[in-house]
């Protein structure tokens, strides 16, 4: 009622568990698509949902939007993600969204290894952020992440 103290821990554990499962399913779907296989129904749904979220976040050009779309509690986590994506985050996120959507629809080029790798690195980065978020909560130091400094440089 009267406090503006922000907690980094989401109240909504049910949503966070669902989003975690969606990320794993999307990663599985992407792996299938990259070998020319058709993703399963649940994987297609996860790819579409994650693609929608990335596209929406990119189009809003807002870190707040990215944190909201991807279930990251703090805008700070989303800012790490944007830094990792590279200088033109909106363009990069839109491109990655296209890969996810293409994998869901079966229209992606399975030979485009560079694009697949970029998106796979993004998903790994997202899983690291989600883990850091779930583990902790009121710390002030940034989470230690293992993905490359800029995903745009991944080939």
């Amino acid at each position: 009622m009267s406090s503006d103290r922000e907690s980094r821990q989401p109240d909504d554990i049910a949503t966070q568990i669902t989003l975690g499962q969606q990320l794993v399913a999307a990663s599985g779907g992407l792996a299938a698509a990259s070998t020319g296989k058709v993703p399963q129904d649940a994987e297609r749904a996860a790819l579409t949902s994650l693609g929608d979220s990335l596209r929406s976040a990119a189009n809003q050009q807002s870190i707040v939007a990215i944190s909201g779309e991807l279930g990251l509690v703090s805008a700070r986590e989303a800012a790490y993600l944007v830094d990792a994506v590279g200088p033109d985050a909106a363009k990069a996120l839109n491109e990655m969204a296209n890969v996810l959507m293409g994998a869901a629809e079966g229209t992606v080029d399975a030979e485009d290894t560079k694009s697949f790798n970029r998106v796979r690195q993004l998903l790994l980065a997202l899983s690291e952020l989600r883990l850091a978020q779930a583990r902790n909560v009121d710390r002030s130091d940034p989470p230690e992440l293992s993905w490359p400094t800029t995903l745009s440089s991944v080939s």
Partner: protein, 427 residues
């Protein structure tokens, strides 16, 4: 062949954590009467964990790719963290079984929640050891629209205040969050008001803020839109509590919030000066203003002075939000008055006089002379007025009145007796 030992160990730990949480909620459900949905939904969430673990196991076994396996390991560890964190909610089950506040206040608030949120609402009050008053709606379910049957509302009360019966009315504000979320008022109102002058103010606020912050205007605008939604919801909840409780809410609100900086704009909360002004305007329209002015003139003059003084200069974003809220306030309060129309507490001078007289006789103020029950909002308002008037009646009396021994003893009984009398006479 990749080593699966680490993954299997984490997986077993998730299963163990989920089993422990399930056992705790099972023991709650064995004896739970009402509220019960909080336990059932907790159990539902525990039961969702095993299929997720099985899915991760299957996917982990199916891939040999190092990146994929790393991602799944991250995900199962994340799941372990959430599953263990469910223990934070076990205290909520304890509170549902053994409420931390008096039953008179609790029964009143539960009936209010059923009346204005939805009849299938269950209201639980939890004593919180950190933070302020707060609300969580359906904490164990993924949000969905429309909200499915069985609404669980959890309101947090600062532990120090569990015996402060005259502050429990602040929980009506928390129930307001339930109304806003379940009926989608926040987004509806934000969309409706973000036009014309308010749209221009927000656009200008975002531009000026972006100049200072060096961030993109779109970024600052997204922040402003999010904050506007939060501020609208706070004004909405103030209006719910004001409409349902009348002057009581002003007294409780002033005790809790007014000692702090009245011009501080929060991320999610408008400045207190603005909130008090809007609460007073609402009370004046409902007919409470003249009663406050007459009964506790010292307090009324001070609070009206705070409300009418010019606000301190704010940062551009806060200034834009404050002005937007001023323009939108009548619309927000109008939406509330319409929603809670059957529960609006208009002042009943006869009831207030009865409460004052019964308190003088050390009798729980639950019934009129003719035996009819006194409405519970009037009982609480009468208790507040008596506690203030037996002291100086000035604003500083709030800090003492709120702990009035006599009111503290008689108010909970009166609230319980009022219900008993009402049901007896209705039967």
């Amino acid at each position: 062949m990749a080593d699966d030992t680490e993954f299997r160990f984490v997986t077993a730990s998730v299963r163990r954590a989920a089993r422990l949480q399930r056992e705790y909620v099972d023991s709650f459900l064995e004896t739970a009467g009402s509220p019960r949905a909080i336990g059932e939904q907790f159990a539902e969430l525990c039961d969702k964990i095993e299929p997720v673990v099985s899915d991760y196991e299957r996917r982990h076994a199916a891939t040999t790719d190092a990146l994929d396996r790393r991602l799944i390991l991250n995900a199962i560890r994340e799941l372990l963290a959430w599953t263990r964190d469910l223990q934070l909610r076990c205290a909520w089950l304890d509170a549902a079984a053994k409420p931390p506040i008096d039953l008179g206040s609790l029964y009143y608030l539960r009936s209010l929640a059923k009346a204005i949120v939805r009849p299938d609402s269950e209201f639980t009050v939890v004593a919180a050891h950190e933070g302020s008053y707060a609300t969580v709606v359906n904490p164990f379910r993924v949000p969905s629209t429309p909200v499915p049957p069985g609404i669980v509302l959890v309101a947090l009360v600062p532990h120090r205040e569990i015996r402060s019966g005259l502050l429990h009315p602040l929980l009506a504000h928390e129930i307001g969050h339930g109304v806003a979320k379940v009926h989608g008022y926040t987004e509806q109102l934000r969309t409706k008001v973000t036009t014309g002058r308010i749209e221009k103010m927000l656009a200008r606020g975002a531009q000026e803020t972006a100049k200072e912050s060096k961030r993109a205007v779109t970024e600052e605008r997204a922040v402003l839109d999010k904050r506007l939604g939060a501020w609208i919801e706070e004004i909405f909840c103030d209006a719910v509590a004001t409409a349902c409780l009348g002057a009581t809410y002003l007294f409780s609100f002033a005790t809790e919030v007014l000692p702090d900086d009245v011009d501080a704009a929060g991320l999610k909360h408008p400045p207190t000066r603005q909130r008090v002004r809007l609460i007073l305007a609402h009370l004046d329209r409902l007919g409470w203003g003249s009663i406050i002015d007459r009964e506790v003139p010292g307090f009324a003059a001070w609070v009206r002075g705070v409300a009418s003084a010019p606000p301190a200069s704010q940062r551009p974003a806060d200034e834009a939000l404050r002005k937007a809220i001023d323009l939108a306030a009548r619309r927000i309060q109008g939406a509330v008055d319409k929603h809670v129309s059957a529960n609006i507490a208009k002042p009943d001078e006869e009831a207030l006089a009865s409460v004052a007289e019964l308190l003088k006789q050390h009798v729980p103020p639950a019934q009129h002379d003719d035996g009819s029950p006194i409405a519970r909002p009037m009982i609480i308002a009468g208790c507040w007025l008596s506690a203030m008037k037996t002291r100086s009646g000035d604003v500083e009396a709030l800090a003492d009145a709120v702990d009035s021994d006599e009111v503290g003893q008689l108010l909970p009984y009166a609230l319980e007796l009022s219900v008993i009398v009402d049901r007896w006479q209705t039967a």
